[in-house]
Each structure stands twice: as structure tokens, then as C-alpha cells.
């Protein structure tokens, strides 16, 4: 059945999808190119009217080997690793298209803000899926040696302002066994996590109220939070120095071509290939068709729309053609409050049983925190307006119950950002699509994209360049699981 198709799609890709580009070669549409050339010569010849050729320097190039849709942390990470892992210097031409280069949180209708800017910036290794733990470990290694990876001559060093304060996960009676198993798995992978009983917790952090807590897991090292903005800027500077082109624009359509193929068992299947990407310039109607060999969908919350443009999901439901990319934008709030009697300098990133999380911010008794709502309580994602009642009703009661000294807190600011929420199993999608053969995904990480970005970028770059995952095996994250119905559930989602 279609399972064989999927294997075909991946297997044949392994041999001829290795993208070692060679310059030159024939392009399609030879006749149009010849007539364009003839027109240009006619302009220059004496006796004809001199019409200046149209200045297109502000548009993206007409050709690029890889087009990355989305210039946030995931898109830039993929661009960085593509240029780092290429065989020869300058072998791959990469173009990154981003809608909003300022990355600020715009409080407008239909705001297309990136999710990297407003993020809380935490990184921890306490996951239930082993690949997530490996991704986190690689990411923390990357962040630690950030100035080796992102060193640019004459540029200042990247200062991530990393707080190595660790992460504390609390579990109730019914989740205690799962937590213990997870911690065992994490320690096997190499994370430095320890389990604490409620008494030990009370001793170590006297400001916690341990009522309802049966077990807690605490990361001793390699966990904490950092400044996402400086990482983004550092990555941008480095990829620009490596020769990646960054353009501000919007991808409006894909020009695809399809071909009929046959599986060994004789079934017909239609494989599509993206030939051109139409990039529309900001605030104008101009667009540039960019010919490309591979497209990487790293558009974050908007990845679902980009996938629909490529024809993913247009078919009968229940078939492979009809399986949509289940990533949609979900609004999440982050609140900043001030509490002079709050927990001290040793406070880790605390994630409570109820789903509320908070961490310290700076030296001045400020704290950042948020809450992941249940499905019924989801705020409306059409804009980035903050609902202040949300904090009052949903976050504050749980905070006070866990940390009694937060009773006197005062909210200073709040902002909102989008999660690229995967409605299927809240875990990311990585790798190629089985039918649209040159679209690769790097999205859907539902709030963990920032901390896993270096690892994901490397995995996608390996898939594009070598056709397989070399370092971390991300095959559980492939697109095909949406069709096969295999959920990769993550226990704790912040």
C-alpha cells in the first residue's frame, strides 16, 4: 500500500538526493532565455532606442540552490549548517526569505512576527523522547562554544548571557513513575539530572510549598536560560559572512512540476517537484521567481500555510496526498512581574505540575513566567494582543499556591508570541515530504524550537547534503508519521 510508496520515496532519494551541486548545465525554458538575450542585444545595437535594462538589484537572485522560507532561529540555523557542512567553499547558494526583519512584536492585525524575539529563552534536557535529549545536549554544547562556531573576523563576540541555574520539574503522585523513568533515560543519554524528594526540595529551596509534589527532577548543569536575541543576531552575522543572502519578502506561490512514478508493486503515484519560488517584496507588488533545487520550510507558525501553497494536503482525507502539515500558530503570553520577597538568586526555571512556569530575570527581583493553556482555553491567534485577565485567573492562583511569597507580586509587563504548534503530537517535523520531493521541513517544535535549533539545523543540512541523518537520528520526526498515525508524544510541554 502506501507504506511501500513511502519507502520508495525515501530510498530512491538516498542515492540521487545527495545535493552536490555542479555549476552550469542546461536550464529549462531555453527558447525564452534566447529571446530575452536577443532583446537585450537589440537594445544595445546602434540605431535602436536605448532602453535601460530594468534594475533588479533589490530583488532576490533569479537562481539559488536552496531557498529557506523563514529567517528565524530555525531557518538561520539550517543556513549556517548548510554552509558549514558543504564540501567545497561556496558550493551551495542559499537564500533566506523572511517576512519581518525587525523581529519585533508588532501589535497589529495579522501580525507576522517571528517567534524567536519574544521567547523566554530556556534550555533544558528533561524530555521523555531520547532524541530531544540528544538535541538539547548538542545545543548546549553549541551555545557553550558559540564563539568558536560563530566567530567572524572583526566582529564583537557573541554574549549569550547564559544563566546556568538549572531547571526544576515538579511531578504529582500520578506522574512520579513517568518522571523517574524519564530521568533514568536522560541520565543514560548523558544529561546531569537528579531526582529530589519533597523533603530535599524543601531543604534546598525553602520558598517552595511542596504540597502535592511527589517527586521533582532538577538539572544540575547545562540547563538554564539565555538571550535568544543575541543568538539570532550572532547567527545572522555569521551566515551573512558565509555568503548566505537574506531577503525581506513573502513567499506567495510555488511553481511545481509533477511526474508519474510507479512503485515496484505497480501502483501509480504522483511525485511533485518545486521548480520556482515566487518571492514577493515587502510593501510592493513586485515579485521574483527564484529557481531552486530544494526548499526548506522553516516558517514557524506559518509553516502550515506555506505547505498548502506547495500542494501538501490537497487530496482526499486519509490518503498521503490529503495529509496536511498540522502546524498552526498558537498564541502564548509571557508576563514579567516584580516581587521583592520572591525567591533568591539560586532560583532555577521552575515548571509546576499545573503547567505554570517561571524564572528569574536579572538582579532586581523580577520574574518571567507563563502558562500553557488547555485546548479549551486557547487564546485567539489572529492578533498579538495580551489578555491581562488570563494572568489574573489562570496563572496567579497556581503561582501563589506553589510559591507563597508571590502573593505580593505586581505585574510590570506582558507580551505575546506565537508557538508553531503541532496539533498532532506537539513534537517537531524534520526531513523531506514523501510526495513533494524537494521540500524539507524544520518546524512544528511547539515552543522548543529555540533550544533545539542548532541540532535541528544540522540534521536538516545533513538530510539535504547527504540524504540521511548522520549524527542524531531524527527519523521519528519525519512527516510520514502524520499519515501513519504514529504519535511521538512528549510528556512535559512548557
Amino acid at each position: 500500500m502506501f507504506r511501500k510508496v513511502l519507502r520508495i520515496g525515501l530510498d530512491s532519494g538516498l542515492s540521487n538526493r545527495g545535493l552536490r551541486t555542479r555549476r552550469g548545465g542546461f536550464t529549462l525554458d531555453w527558447d525564452a532565455k534566447v529571446s530575452e538575450f536577443k532583446k537585450k542585444i537589440e537594445c544595445i545595437l546602434p540605431g535602436k532606442q536605448w532602453e535601460e535594462p530594468y534594475d533588479t538589484s533589490h530583488l532576490p537572485p533569479k537562481q539559488s540552490d536552496v531557498v529557506i522560507v523563514g529567517g528565524g532561529i530555525l531557518g538561520l540555523s539550517v543556513a549556517f549548517w548548510l554552509k558549514k557542512l558543504e564540501n567545497r567553499r561556496g558550493a551551495i547558494r542559499v537564500l533566506v526569505v523572511e517576512q519581518d526583519h525587525t523581529f519585533c512584536v508588532c501589535f497589529s492585525q495579522y501580525s507576522r512576527a517571528s517567534s524567536t524575539g519574544p521567547s523566554v529563552g530556556g534550555i533544558w534536557q528533561q524530555f521523555s523522547v531520547p532524541e530531544n535529549v540528544q538535541l538539547s545536549l548538542f545545543s548546549i554544547n553549541f551555545l557553550r562554544n558559540i564563539n568558536e562556531y560563530l566567530a567572524v573576523v572583526d566582529a564583537p563576540l557573541v554574549d549569550l548571557r547564559f544563566n546556568p541555574s538549572g531547571c526544576l520539574l515538579l511531578a504529582s503522585e500520578k506522574d512520579a513513575a513517568t518522571l523517574e523513568n524519564n530521568v533514568k533515560m536522560q541520565r543514560q543519554e548523558g544529561a546531569k539530572v537528579c531526582l529530589m524528594s519533597p523533603e530535599q526540595l524543601q531543604n534546598k529551596f525553602p520558598w517552595i510549598n511542596t504540597e502535592g509534589v511527589a517527586l521533582a527532577s532538577y538539572g544540575m548543569e547545562d540547563e538554564g536560560w539565555f538571550d535568544a536575541w543575541s543568538l539570532l543576531q550572532g547567527l545572522r552575522r555569521k551566515v551573512q559572512s558565509m555568503g548566505v543572502l537574506l531577503y525581506q519578502g513573502e513567499v506567495t506561490s510555488f511553481i511545481t512540476s509533477s511526474s508519474q512514478m510507479q512503485t515496484p508493486s505497480g501502483e501509480q503515484v504522483v511525485l511533485r517537484r518545486i521548480n520556482k519560488v515566487h518571492v514577493k517584496m515587502d510593501k510592493s507588488l513586485e515579485y521574483q521567481p527564484v529557481e531552486c533545487a530544494a526548499v526548506i520550510n522553516a516558517a514557524g507558525p506559518w509553516s502550515g500555510q506555506i505547505a498548502e501553497l506547495a500542494g501538501i494536503g490537497k487530496g482526499l482525507p486519509g490518503t498521503l496526498q490529503g495529509t496536511k502539515l498540522p502546524v498552526e500558530p498558537r498564541k502564548r503570553y509571557v508576563h514579567l512581574w516584580h516581587c521583592p520577597q520572591g525567591p533568591g538568586l539560586e532560583t532555577p526555571l521552575v515548571a509546576d505540575i499545573s503547567g505554570v512556569y517561571f524564572r528569574r530575570e536579572g538582579l532586581g527581583s523580577n520574574y518571567l513566567g507563563g502558562y500553557s493553556p488547555t485546548e479549551e482555553e486557547e487564546p485567539d491567534p489572529t492578533n498579538l494582543e495580551v489578555d491581562h485577565d488570563f494572568f489574573q485567573n489562570k496563572v496567579w492562583p497556581h503561582l501563589v499556591q506553589r510559591v507563597p511569597s508571590f502573593k505580593t507580586l505586581k505585574v510590570q509587563r506582558a507580551w505575546a508570541g506565537y508557538y508553531d504548534y503541532n496539533t498532532f503530537d506537539q513534537n517537531g517535523v524534520v526531513g523531506p515530504h514523501p510526495l513533494v520531493v524537494n521540500m524539507y521541513f524544520a518546524t512544528g517544535f511547539s515552543g522548543r524550537g529555540l533550544q533545539h535549533a542548532p541540532g535541528i539545523g544540522r540534521a536538516v543540512a545533513e538530510m539535504v547534503l547527504d540524504g540521511q541523518f548522520n549524527t542524531i537520528d531524527m527519523s521519528p520526526f519525519l512527516f510520514t508519521r502524520f499519515y501513519l498515525g504514529e504519535k511521538l508524544q512528549e510528556y512535559n510541554i512548557l
Partner: protein, 260 residues
């Protein structure tokens, strides 16, 4: 040339003043003059590639000094590994004084000005190292794995003026939670208050020196918070009144008399 470049880094002094490492030497060149190499690299890709290569080599050199001593650890045991690593970097070690009958002098073992050090300690595989003075050494996070991991009974650690010790290194110190009693971080240019926050694991600490840390943004406030975090520890730092503004009618001699 090597030590001159190190000199430029120390002169700049500010935490973020560790400028581009492939620049030739003067304290002002980063700000005012452009060198010939910089000028040429704007015009020629080859020179640009050369500068990138030099930058990478600089980084690798730093890493080589801090490589892991795993093979020595297998042969000689953890204490000798740690001691050897410190002595090679230019620091000093002191052994546990209750075993002093094995030693003629119960003093610090230090390398002399040529970098040679006595090798008697190679015999003492079972003797725990008590104190390490790594002032001014080029130890970084990689090298820290050679330090707290093998040396479990370390009581005194001095990391004064180490240019590469940063917040990441401090997060490794939790392994010494049971034994470490004195820690000195004075003068480290890359340690900030974020690294100091993870010292809360060291509950046996009795003396902590955090004076003269240029990367800490509010030294007085940080000291108060650290004192709250480690109630049994004596924290030596800057005068906590530093940063408080004098009232206009007060004379400069009347600085607040309460100081640790």
C-alpha cells in the same frame, strides 16, 4: 608575538573587550586605526580567508592547552591527573597535610620560571589534592573537566585573574559541593552574576572572594544576593556602598562607615 596578544587582551580589561583575536597588537588598534591586513581583507577574498584561518588557529590553540587527560587518568589515577594538569598550566597544588610525612616540605608545588616542576607527586596516587592555586592560568570549560571531576576532596580553589574562566566553568563547580571550603574568583574578566548564581550548590563553602569582577553589573547588589544565597559563607567582595550616590551635603570623607 603570542604573549603580546595576550597582553592586549588584558589591557582592554573590560569583560567584552576581548576583541578580534587575529588583530596585531596595540591597545588602540581595535578602536582607531585599521591595520594593513584589515584594509586589504576588504578588497581581497584571499586575505579575508587568511584572517579567518588565523582566527580559527587562535581558538584551536586555546583548546589544545585544555585537552582532556583521560589516558593519564587511567594510568596514574585521578589525583595525579588533576595535579599534572594544573602544574602544566602554570598553577600550583598542595597536598593533604595529614599525609605530610610523605613529603619533606608541606608547601605548594609550583613550576619554576622555566616551567619545570618536581615530579615526586607522580608517586602519590592515593593522596588527595587539598588545594589548587590556578591564578592566571588559561583554564577554560574544557579544562574544568580535568579539575573538579577527578579532585573530589578539594578544599581550596583559587581562580584569580583567569582570563578564560566564565559562567559555564562555574556551573561545573557543583561537583565539589561537599568538600570545597574556600573559593576565590577575584579579577576574572568573564565571570558575571549569572555564574555566581550557580554557586548555591557549594553549601560547605566558608570563604568566597568575588572582588573586582568587571563583568558583574551591580557589584554591591550581587554581593548582597550572594550572601543571602550562602548563609554560612563569608563573602569578600567590593564595598557594598560602592555605587550608592552620596547626598549633596555630605563630605567625601563621610563615606558610609559600615563596610564588611
Amino acid at each position: 608575538m603570542g604573549f603580546l596578544r595576550l597582553g592586549a587582551r588584558e589591557w582592554n580589561g573590560r569583560a567584552r573587550g576581548i576583541r578580534s583575536m587575529s588583530e596585531p597588537v596595540t591597545p588602540d588598534s581595535s578602536r582607531k586605526k585599521r591595520t594593513l591586513l584589515q584594509f586589504l581583507s576588504d578588497y581581497f577574498h584571499d586575505i579575508h580567508a587568511l584572517r579567518e584561518y588565523l582566527l580559527r588557529k587562535q581558538i584551536l590553540k586555546g583548546n589544545r592547552k585544555n585537552r582532556s587527560f583521560a589516558d593519564i587518568q587511567e594510568k596514574y589515577g585521578p589525583y595525579v591527573t588533576g595535579a599534572l594538569f594544573i602544574l602544566k598550566q602554570g598553577g600550583a597544588v598542595k597536598y593533604d597535610s595529614c599525609h605530610e610525612r610523605m613529603f619533606q616540605n608541606k608547601e605548594w608545588i609550583r613550576p619554576n620560571e622555566h616551567g619545570h616542576f618536581p615530579t615526586e607527586f607522580l608517586e602519590f596516587r592515593k593522596v588527595p589534592v587539598e588545594a589548587v592555586d590556578a591564578s592566571g592560568c588559561a583554564i577554560n570549560y574544557q579544562g574544568m573537566s580535568n579539575l573538579p571531576v577527578p579532585l573530589k576532596e578539594l578544599r581550596f580553589l583559587s581562580l584569580q585573574r583567569c582570563p578564560n574562566v566564565d559562567d559555564w566553568c562555574l556551573s561545573r563547580l557543583y561537583l565539589l559541593a561537599d568538600s570545597l571550603q574556600e573559593l576565590s574568583l577575584a579579577g576574572c574578566p568573564q565571570v558575571s552574576e549569572r555564574g555566581l548564581a550557580c554557586l548555591h550548590h557549594l553549601q560547605s563553602l566558608r570563604r568566597l572572594d568575588i572582588s573586582d569582577l568587571p563583568a558583574v553589573s551591580h557589584p554591591g547588589l550581587t554581593q548582597i544576593l550572594v550572601e543571602e544565597m550562602l548563609p554560612h559563607c563569608e563573602v569578600l567582595g567590593t564595598d557594598w556602598a560602592q555605587g550608592l550616590k552620596l547626598e549633596p551635603d555630605q563630605q567625601p570623607q563621610n563615606t558610609p562607615a559600615v563596610s564588611p
